[in-house]
Symmetry: D2
């Protein structure tokens, strides 16, 4: 029997989770929810997803565009085991999910307090087993966990400083700036460090962040003081065998996030997504006990595998972390 998954909010993350769920053999999409008949609603219909309106009042809007909803979110929750909430921040559906007795996953835009349980596959899969509510941490936090967790696990981390150079808007967004400016997050340390600690308890990490006029990916410049002196090659070997982390190299022409996205295009994955964190192999350097590296984060897709793992943990399909990771990876054709 497969787990029945509802998607509330069929946008950047929602549509990707829907496709990723569909690629698994132990879960299925029973319906997706949207408010307005934007171009993405037509895409949902084309993809064969059962379409539900967010509420009664939105049904007429869809009908006018020739889309007949199968019902409302309320109806959908009656038949779902779990809902992946991909609505904008603070949309406030938690009480409804509780009332309907449906498990729910939120995304990293929400605060840790909403669920009290934040999730990252490597860091704390076990904590989510059987849970009713969880939050998959943000794309940036997920990216940090992917490379930091193996380091912590293998050698121990003294402390971390991460500077997040954030893309200013998503590729599909033509309304947000900055167009020609660099915008620092003046709250220092930024929220990214504390967010990592929600899934890697006790880690000593500080972060700062700036937004820049690029739409492609976030880039992290990370400095890690390790508890041991290890040669650069050992770090490369560790990440080489780490799942969901891939190397790119300047010497092959991968000079920036632009060429990484070109590699993603060539991969043939739907939407040219890059679920993996891309680390510049020739940008990894250990000086004494201090490791420097750059990684790039595909903000639209890196959390998708984690959403799948989280469903599996919460619905008790799989209690072994690595078994779920491997299953997800195989279904999504992941390194």
């Amino acid at each position: 029997m497969t787990v029945k998954v509802a998607i509330n909010g069929y946008g950047t993350i929602g549509k990707r989770v829907a496709d990723a769920v569909t690629a698994q053999d132990d879960m299925e999409i029973v319906g997706v929810v949207k408010r307005r008949p934007s171009f993405e609603a037509f895409d949902a219909v084309k993809n064969g997803y059962k379409f539900y309106a967010a509420a009664e009042e939105f049904i007429e809007g869809f009908r006018q565009e020739g889309i007949e909803p199968a019902g409302t979110l309320d109806d959908l929750l009656d038949i779902a085991d779990i809902v992946v909430d991909c609505t904008p921040k603070k949309a406030g559906y938690k009480a409804l999910y509780e009332k309907k007795g449906v498990k729910a996953i939120w995304q990293g835009g929400e605060k840790h307090d909403l669920t009290g349980l934040s999730f990252n596959s490597f860091s704390n899969y076990e904590d989510a087993i059987g849970a009713d509510f969880a939050r998959v941490v943000s794309c940036n936090t997920t990216g940090l966990c992917r490379t930091l967790w193996p380091l912590e696990n293998e050698w121990g981390i003294e402390n971390v400083l991460g500077v997040m150079i954030r893309r200013g808007a998503d590729p599909w967004d033509s309304k947000k700036g900055p167009m020609n400016a660099i915008e620092p997050v003046l709250k220092v340390p930024s929220h990214h460090g504390p967010d990592v600690i929600t899934v890697m308890e006790g880690l000593d990490i500080q972060t700062t962040a700036v937004a820049v006029p690029s739409t492609l990916m976030h880039l992290h410049s990370v400095v890690v003081k390790l508890k041991k002196n290890v040669p650069t090659q050992d770090v490369l070997d560790l990440w080489e065998k780490t799942s969901r982390v891939m190397f790119v190299e300047g010497k092959y022409g991968v000079k920036s996030t632009a060429q990484i996205m070109e590699i993603a295009k060539d991969s043939g994955r739907k939407r040219s997504d890059l679920f993996e964190i891309a680390v510049w192999k020739d940008g990894v350097h250990v000086v004494g006990d201090t490791l420097y590296y750059y990684q790039a984060i595909h903000q639209e897709s890196d959390v998708i595998p984690e959403n799948i793992d989280c469903i599996r943990a919460m619905c008790n399909i799989e209690t072994d972390k690595w078994a779920s990771v491997e299953k997800t990876n195989k279904a999504l054709n992941l390194e």
Copy 2:
């Protein structure tokens, strides 16, 4: 028996033509050629294409990166019926192709004089039947032909003014500007108008062009004086049934080229390509005898179907224009 196609230059256009040829049942890729082991060379190998070095001197470079070429361009030409030349402008291989007796197709970066025969599927398919050398016109010219040819064919065109707002660099390019400027092409009229005339003889068309800091698509603002007064709806109806032209609508949230590219991502095509020309349905307006419209051109992929048709015409696989167009469209899952 399938036509044997070689690709010289496995970059933006070359890799796409290779995949498109592979999707057909009447032609096949016998080998692809590159100079240097960039990340795209690894992609070619992963895709299973037989890999050839551009010349003897480049073989060692590939070997050092673990790629063993099957030979050189010279060797490849011995077994190919036709070569699609996707090398940078003026690479100068024509004499070699002639010597080897291989047919050849060049791209729009080359001048008309190189072959004396420019090609666009709608406009002059017949001229290419059996030809030895042809040039598929540029992405912008192809885009103009796609929407202008039906107008000319149906009602006749008095004259055209096109203003091309060109993307400043391709998405994978992190070296070219302008970063924060608008750059006009001071040669007025620009080369785009005369280029359309190489395939739509006798058309009265003038064009101007500016480059802007965007990587996604070219956008054309086109004004056509028709020979007849026709209502806006008739133009929409004509393009609705025109192959390789699709509509997008501002009212569904498609406000800019960014959202068009998101639609391409959702389509699931490899590399999120958009072979079709996107016309804003709610941006088409006829005032008297004058038609105004905006169209967006995916500079990396719109000429791919035309390359396939051109191979078919030159190699005498198909003498009927629409039969080839339909065959190509079906294989590439095109509107």
Copy 3:
């Protein structure tokens, strides 16, 4: 006796009008108005302008930052002859100005209907003499009038097509997009054409517009069908002697709006403003009776001289158009 000018809204346009008024000998600033103590409020104080709060409720906000307003807008209107309203669109102060019996000028963001009188120095200075309310047309419309009016005046214009490639945000703005997209104005023809007609009655002009990711200047690609065949040189000669129009040349390295702004920096004007319209001399071409040209518009400053002229006309300081233009030009060090 000098005319007493109030500035309501000390932002992009307001602060520039204030400085330009101060540079004249027949008018003076009696006070400037702002709502909030942003960095521009400190600048107003540093410049020695008397500072008024927009209303009672805003006074405390300024006090907390150490700025003591001289009163409120209401107080300021008691001592002003004319107010230049540079508040955001539809701020709705007209009734107050009427009640206070103060003349008022609005900017191009407002609609023609607000005043029934739109203003451009060249086109219709005379209409504003003694008027109570007027609207100085937008930066784009002003730019079009500067080059079109002399053509109409000298040879007559059959019709005009202007394609406006608009900067997406102002240089100081880090919130607005598009970051990497081209966004067409789907209403065709765009509002720019009709706006020109508010000051150049009877002109046959159509316009389309796109927004692009640049902050520096708008760029117009203009095509004018003249009533006479004239050689390109005659057009150059006409604009050479036209006030507030300057030439730039690609052959001297002025390839884009970026280099024009560098010229403005080198000029030494405050804020590196460019009050003139910049026309690419080597981008002007006449083909038969059709004139093609590109011009660039400094959206933050080109309307400043027109605001000064408009004050002069409305307050009956000067009834001769060219006398006012010359006076303004001299005070602002204009070509």
Copy 4:
């Protein structure tokens, strides 16, 4: 008697040094040198600088554009006491300057080895007194010295980590990318750290760097481990009284480099330059012994005051560091 200064290379830095020298009373410009008649050559002439061609072969080019050079670089060096070399990197004039017995200053694009003496006013003014050759360190290094030197001087620095988010191109540049990408400097630590050490010997500093699609300013995210625990306020107090460092605040709307440049425009300085380093006051935070801050660097102008001080030191006009700094500041209207 005033020191006679020649400027070799009248571009971004050269024209600014020329104007800054002219603003002093103890030095004067005897001539400026250029290779080609670009728009900046006309500016030099308009500013009244004596104009020299880089060599005999370039004279004709200027004459054709109506500029009559006063001679060649060679002639100019005969009458100059010191030359400020603002030519592109590795232009190779050193031997000529030596032969002519003229002192010379290079800019930060050159390597330390060229002169063996790198210069920053705060850090090592004394070392340059009477020197023949010196290099004023780059805009980024100058920016780091401005804020780090007072910290080192007051409390001592344990170590520094600086992440430089670099503007991808200068505002006047429409040829360089990245247009929509983030490009890391893969050499880690980057060259910026070692460059600081050329003027602040013994400092423990590491840096990484990325280039982003903005033209306005560099932004540094800096983390300093101090030798003492000091409250945030003490750091603010220290920088408040530090010359050539200014505060900006997010709470007054200065959210990004865009608004800082607007402040520079409002200041009325020629070219809207910002000679000072801008530190976000509400982005300065001390956690334990670790200080976090963001600063923005106007890459086109922050080294100008240092060039003036360097001339004074090398030509023995002033042996007291702070006396020169104060003199320069006063002449340039600097905080």
